[in-house]
């Protein structure tokens, strides 16, 4: 067996880098699932918006939905609520930064428009998240973007148009691109 060990060791060393790239399952635990199955639950919407589902909506369509489902907490047009003021600025007049800490709730503050869709879809309305249709989420997203002066009242928001919306505060964040490991900085940074 000594011979085979001499052959095996260099082979193992050669094999090591490829093991690091394509790991083989070690424990064979867990149930594989298909891409179709993933599509059925994957509504995690990143900045690119690739996962956005079918559907569409405009601010005009969103207004009555907002009045019915959102106004109780966020106030008329999202401006005077008891919780989280969603609107700063006005149609046609987007609020520019810098923002104060207490102004962060406004959609005008968000770096990406896709976050508005993602968050309404996953977490709103409290206390019954998950009760809005995708169409309603598109319409509400359009409504909030319109009230914040970012899009027009009749602009259609859908899987193609929403990720392309340019947010006025996109460059209001530091570091510009999140990096890990972070740059060396003092501990208070």
């Amino acid at each position: 067996m000594q011979c085979s060990l001499k052959v095996l060791v260099p082979l193992m060393i050669l094999a090591a880098p490829s093991v690091g790239l394509a790991q083989a399952p070690k424990f064979n635990v867990g149930t594989p699932l298909s891409q179709e199955a993933i599509k059925s639950f994957d509504y995690m919407i990143g900045p690119g918006g690739q996962q956005l589902p079918a559907g569409r909506g405009t601010a005009k369509e969103g207004a009555p939905i907002f009045a019915k489902r959102c106004e109780v907490c966020h106030g008329q047009n999202g401006e005077r609520g008891v919780l989280r003021r969603l609107v700063l600025g006005a149609p046609g007049k987007p609020r520019q930064g810098p923002f104060k800490a207490e102004e962060r709730d406004s959609v005008a503050y968000y770096p990406y428009a896709t976050i508005v869709w993602d968050y309404i879809n996953r977490a709103m309305p409290v206390p019954k998240p998950g009760t809005l249709t995708h169409e309603e989420v598109y319409a509400l997203t359009a409504f909030l973007l319109y009230r914040n002066g970012i899009i027009g009242e009749n602009d259609v928001m859908d899987a193609q148009s929403l990720p392309k919306v340019e947010m006025p505060n996109r460059n209001g964040f530091v570091p510009a691109v999140p990096v890990y490991p972070p740059e060396p900085k003092p501990s208070w940074w």
Binding site: V29, P32, I38, P47, Y109, I115, A123, P127, P178
Partner: protein, 422 residues
């Protein structure tokens, strides 16, 4: 009818929560703040709601709003370095805790992986486990203005100002084991985790950290996770802002770029003067911090003679190497004793023997960690953030990562006060 009961109770509570929004408009929509030290034995001193009351002793600050549930750890009563699970702080971003069946709950890992997999809780428990002692801390901890300062029901200030940190022995499977089972694609660089709570809490984690010391935890201090701590499973991201440690973990999506979920992009970013009013986002690790828990403001007045000064220190960088104590308002410092073993990214108990002579004194603690970082005074910290001394005393919402030195003033009558905010 029994099966309808939780649903009905939840409905009643939600109705009450919504009613509270109207009533509590002036008071930040808080509709209950209860349960402080006066009568620790009183039953039902918390909300009359079974999921909330489960395992929760009466002696703790609780704040409720329509979209948040907050518990503060009573640091003044806490000994050693392990917080009892039922005293662990809570910052729940929803109106109620989910009741999840561990038999049917699953964790699905997908995205930039070769083999998307779904794990049952039993699957996770069958994999190699680790147990490690780690602190958790809300990034807004120690920001007194937004946490009920001056509210007598919230208990002594060490609890409501600093009580959003706790420390446990967590047991679970390293996340690297699960990611290796799925096989990472070469594009993989970040991931986003999602919980099964009502708002499906999400948070982005860089892959480098995920493969380092992150675990999927199912045990806390030798028992299953409590409902309010994420039962049946949660992510545990040591040394970093607690929102990374997503509770009720149900999905992990591996991505090729930062995901920019609502929490890290919006809710947990903070505009700062030192960067021209732009917002600091993607805070990861906590700087060193220490708090003297006894004596502290509002506790039993001191008597002349021997006084043990004690508290806890922690740092996201690793181990706390030194905690110095000053009893003369920061003019001189002496090293305290650290309880051993000292764990990495964990509460570290310090003690210091002091002889009080009956004169006015100001007590401070200052932690130093293995990287040589140490705590600053509140004014120096705010100065670093581009703010003036006046700013440092203003009730600003959203002060985060506050690790300033906390001074306690001992008056001649032995009473102890918050030297910064009283």
């Amino acid at each position: 009818m029994e099966s309808n009961e939780p649903g009905r109770r939840r409905f009643l509570k939600q109705a009450a929560a919504l009613a509270g929004v109207g009533v509590g408009a002036g008071a930040g929509a808080d509709w209950a703040a209860r349960g402080q030290a006066a009568k620790p034995e009183v039953k039902d001193s918390h909300l009359n709601d079974e999921p909330l009351r489960r395992g929760v002793p009466s002696r703790r600050g609780v704040r409720m709003s329509v979209d948040h549930i907050t518990y503060y750890t009573p640091l003044q009563d806490y000994n050693g370095i392990i917080t009892p699970a039922n005293l662990h702080f809570v910052q729940q971003h929803s109106s109620h805790f989910p009741e999840i069946d561990a038999q049917t709950h699953t964790l699905t890992v997908h995205g930039e992986v070769d083999r998307p997999l779904t794990f049952t809780v039993d699957d996770l428990k069958s994999l190699p486990s680790v147990s490690r002692v780690h602190f958790l801390q809300c990034h807004a901890n120690s920001s007194p203005f937004q946490h009920g300062a001056g509210n007598a029901n919230m208990g002594p200030s060490v609890q409501y100002v600093h009580g959003m940190t706790s420390c446990s022995e967590w047991t679970g499977v390293p996340l690297s084991v699960l990611l290796n089972e799925c096989g990472l694609k070469k594009e993989a660089s970040w991931l986003v985790s999602e919980g099964a709570d009502p708002g499906k809490f999400t948070h982005t984690v860089p892959l480098g950290k995920a493969m380092d010391d992150v675990m999927v935890a199912y045990g806390q201090n030798g028992e299953p996770l409590r409902v309010e701590q994420g039962y049946p499973i949660r992510l545990l991201v040591p040394g970093w802002e607690a929102p990374f440690s997503v509770k009720y973990l149900s999905h992990i999506k591996v991505t090729d770029q930062p995901f920019h979920a609502w929490n890290e992009s919006m809710n947990h970013s903070i505009p700062r003067a030192d960067i021209g009013g732009k917002s600091r986002w993607y805070h990861f690790q906590f700087a060193p911090k220490s708090i003297i828990t006894r004596p502290s403001a509002g506790l039993t007045p001191l008597k002349k003679g021997y006084v043990q000064i004690t508290g806890v220190a922690w740092t996201g960088a690793g181990v706390v190497t030194k905690v110095e104590i000053s009893t003369d308002n920061g003019r001189s410092w002496k090293e305290s004793k650290l309880q051993t073993p000292v764990h990495s990214k964990a509460h570290t108990r310090f003690t210091y023997d002091w002889n009080w002579d009956g004169e006015e004194a100001v007590l401070m603690s200052r932690a130093t960690d293995e990287k040589g970082d140490f705590q600053l005074s509140r004014f120096d910290l705010y100065k670093a953030w581009g703010l003036s001394d006046e700013d440092a005393m203003k009730p600003v919402r959203g002060a985060i990562h506050t690790n300033a030195i906390q001074p306690w003033r001992v008056a001649r009558d032995g009473s102890v006060h918050d030297a910064m905010f009283s």
